[in-house]
Symmetry: D2
Subunit: 363 residues, 4 copies
């Protein structure tokens, strides 16, 4: 019977907004089934549906299989580890606490896929976008050896702000063109700040040209993603140099990125870039992973697309859409990228990471 | 008696949104008083308050002095020219028609200050931001000679999209630093598209990464503004090279610009730029023109400013506010600029142009 | 083979917003498949994907099966009638023209299910909400006889504004309590006005307390729905008397209704109303029609629900959710109702009407 | 010298949103000048401009006269009472604490005008809308006698939700028609909840049909306002009976009210109501108080007005605008009312109360 063969899964931080998205997205997942939900001590002991009463933000009802699961205290590592074979972390607490707690799960033989930023700079923890750097999973054995973990390991996903333009850039680089410099301005959705997040008084008829810590993440995380494994550690790439200006706009979901690119060496023609996006078929698409969008990059030909509300939900909200590829008067080219920040850029991205790791036999 | 000495003023396109702003802003103006309102033949013959019934968009009532003015057909150049000494043009019609009609007024001895884009590329019509290139008014005698106009002339203002960052750039250049390259992403308000303008279905929970023709204007008009008069014509500057990405966001008023700058030659320190903005006191401020903001550039020290709703109305909505000056990882510096698009960037800018020309004795 | 057994379907007005919703919602429908798309002469002759290029508003791509269908001129009744067994009308033209055109299809043996208001007041055309007055389909034979149609007939759905509270009211009446008076204030979504619809300048940071013709429809259509068939015509009910105040609010989808009820005769207790909603299992639910929501009325127990964005998509966006049932200081009770206006209140409602008619053997 | 004759004024809760509005609105007030600003102990000791740095929400800069005022701890009643002759209270703390603290100021000979709800139900504290029940100030001597206060007293203003329709109702009643029942649905602005207030995730593309405690206030406070003084206490009116449904909508400022009225006895014609509104000239208008709008009720004849963004700022944002007067199918008449919630409904209303009390010689 198929159902018995699904991997049992736990969600840490299950009552927060990213955690709720995990719960929602894993309903009817072909490979995974939620068996444990964990959160802070205040929620512990309550049935999940009660723990999220009044703060359930998803546009659906709590999935039936999860409604009755009793919320555990996320710090009960041992107990939770006995209930599941894999854990998604959407923890919201002090950075060092998250780091330690996530490591504890790995130490209990649990593969942990995290949305938190805590371990992103840990030198042997891979920051994965499955379409961009699937080969970075190869560090897992070295990571396990380093920490003395047997079957457990930690894989993280990058910040939601960079998902909208890094995959298109990676596709161009995969076609043999080297991007030297990027100046990008992001228009990011309200949901990116969680709940309660940004006050409505700051976002009705307004835009906020600042998101704390976001520009640094947007500028530096891609360098690790484009980096190499050397002696069991990641050595970040030196290029492309990225400058990011991050804005919060009155949009519910969907981060948009106005991107200007300067190439080093050979500069592609517009047709070559379009072809590169069309031909880009990285590992998640080749492996037909359940959460992988059919096309890794979708180019919209209309002159005014992509748009957050109209394009964010394409292909299970996992698509990265681009549009408006055109010459830049200062750099070589410009385009607009878009991806759904709470699905592709958060829970959906975490699930795809886990699918990739499973398909490649890491657990 | 003072009132008798005011310059009598006509407004072309007085029933449209920019025209309504002229009507609103000129109420109680110390130098000008509205004596003629002109629009399309459909509106002609009606009292102004009746002509705008149901389409008055201003957050106030129609000023009493204008309510009863009978709307003229804007093509009755002769009649309107007899009623006023100066004309503001907010015409919305075919570009060539606007060009011809505006010239007809100048030929009738009327100084005409236009918001329309029709004459912006005419080689001897100045595109003026009073804080940036007031000296361009010097072309007026040559313009009059060229077309055989005695007292009439045409002055235009630039597109609303560039007002939010060109004045700060000009202030830096005035301090002796040469800007070589600019990559700017604008977040522009709904009102910039007029009325009915952008459908709400495109702007509730959404952003549109495209505004027809806007990027070209934003990239090219500054070069004329920074240009020189040679042999009775404007020769555009070659620098700074500008790349603009223009977005429409769900904001009522206020265009914002995320700007990255690369300098040629000597690169200023951050303190030098801040000082340049603080010290910048161009002609409108020195002349204390009625519509000139007290400070030509206002720097906001809070990390998350300027914001459209909170800063657009500063100093009669004529202020240009900047914030977030910081190094750029790719270029030299970055900042955010903001100005009110329908006041500073439209009717208010036109009025300031007229004030400058009057103060300098051009009429 | 199953596919061959599906009913072939045509959509009139297929390029408009309601038409696009029909196209989207009928993808993979178990009973129906789209075989013809019709629109105005301007669109005719183009493949559907080309005809909607730049105006496709759905949050998905054009379904593959429809992309290549060549758009017909909707007035080619004969040709379209040969291509399909059933037609959905989302025509947007002059009311009399719609009326005549819809009748022409019926005359060609085509059962026609309309979203348009044209035939709502035709005395032998039923206005159906399947959960409320499925028995009104019984007029079909009389309608056919009256107009001399053999197999064709016309069924319409009511205005989208009343769907959010009429089903809950019907459920209470089905439990034996007679509602005498209703005062309702609706907060209606932008999409209800179609595209381009309401200008963003009227809806960003604003509310419009008026929708042309909407209050009359909201007040009168329910009386026909609650009415009876007598001598081949509908005789409207006299009660409940309804007063509706209709507002447009900055919400994309989802009409909300703040409703106060006064009962005639026996007044139920709060528990009786909740029970009535819980127990309400009308024909679409008993027949398990594909588009019928599992529960005809969903009561949300949270004190601040239903909310448009969070509840409109429940159960295929076909659910009617209610909340905040409480005593009214003037009438007997108050509650808030919500339904998705472009799905439940438009295309989805039309599809459910067709499913009901098919399940009951009318074609 | 005029300046010396102004009444010196203190603001309690000066750093909160209502307090900021007091600071903003009192700039250049002809009768009052701000001499003391008080807030919580955390803000105490800082210059005002520093205390509000990063949380100043007003669309202007901090007025120069207030920037340097050192914030006092609001509980230093004695010290603050020495610095000013009158106090505005915008305190945000525990209700009982507010009540006690406000009374302490009165005990120190300070007339106190409050925005807080704490004293609204105190039986000898008047809840004043100057256009509606100015005569309620007559309780002041009795209040002073009761509590043993010499010159101090307490006057409060009602909740912001009811200002938009109670003045129009009072105008009708002043013309001799008795309103028996009111069913009202309010659409209230985000700013009504203060800052941070409502999360943007709850208000972008959404409406919340619930505001905690608001319906009770909206239903009951008018009865005190329409009540009488008997034996030194207020006896609430029994009529009109009010049922209020309060919604939060994505609007920055401006509360709107869709109102249905049932008359007792003589029912006016539509023209009589319009005339009543036109003729309504209560005390603040007769006395030409500085903050009184010229007309107490403004009727908008356009079919789709009043609208929050377009009408809230009329006449110093102190106007109450109404529109859409029409018959109601259930009650007698319906109309839409609007007022600016943070000006007319909060700080501006408080200032008008103080002006009234001063003009009538209560201090």
């Amino acid at each position: 019977m198929r159902k018995l063969k699904k991997t049992s899964v736990g969600i840490l931080g299950a009552t927060g907004m990213v955690g709720q998205n995990y719960v929602r997205l894993l309903e009817n997942h072909p490979w995974f089934e939620v068996r444990a939900v964990a959160a802070s001590p205040q929620s512990a002991g309550k049935p999940y549906s009660e723990a999220v009463a009044g703060k359930w933000q998803m546009p659906c009802e709590v999935p039936k299989e999860v409604q009755g699961l009793v919320v555990e205290d996320a710090s009960n590592v041992k107990k939770i580890s006995e209930q599941c074979e894999l854990v998604f972390s959407a923890l919201e607490m002090d950075k060092q606490q998250i780091k330690d707690l996530e490591s504890s799960y790995a130490a209990q033989d649990i593969p942990l896929f995290s949305n938190a930023s805590a371990h992103r700079s840990t030198e042997d923890v891979p920051v994965i976008i499955p379409e961009v750097n699937p080969q970075h999973l190869e560090i897992i054995p070295e990571q396990q050896k380093h920490y003395g973990w047997k079957k457990g390991f930690i894989v993280v996903k990058p910040n939601c702000s960079l998902q909208s333009y890094i995959t298109p850039v990676a596709a161009i680089q995969a076609a043999g063109f080297e991007v030297e410099q990027i100046i990008v301005t992001t228009l990011q959705a309200s949901s990116g700040a969680g709940y309660p997040g940004v006050p409505s008084m700051d976002l009705v008829d307004n835009v906020i040209p600042f998101i704390s810590g976001e520009e640094e993440k947007t500028e530096l995380e891609p360098l690790k993603i484009f980096g190499k494994i050397q002696s069991g550690k990641f050595v970040p790439a030196l290029k492309p140099l990225i400058s990011a200006h991050c804005n919060r706009v009155p949009v519910v979901d969907g981060h948009m990125a106005c991107t200007s690119l300067q190439f080093a060496g050979k500069k592609p023609g517009i047709e070559e870039i379009l072809q590169a996006w069309k031909d880009f078929k990285p590992e998640p698409q080749r492996l037909k992973l359940p959460f992988a969008p059919e096309r890794a990059v979708i180019y919209k030909t209309e002159e005014n697309r992509p748009q957050p509300r109209k394009d964010r939900d394409l292909d299970k909200a996992m698509a990265v859409t681009v549009g408006r590829l055109r010459p830049c008067r200062v750099f070589d080219y410009r385009f607009v990228g878009l991806s759904h920040n709470t699905v592709r850029g958060a829970a959906g991205g975490g699930i795809l990471n886990a699918e990739l790791a499973k398909a490649k036999g890491y657990f």
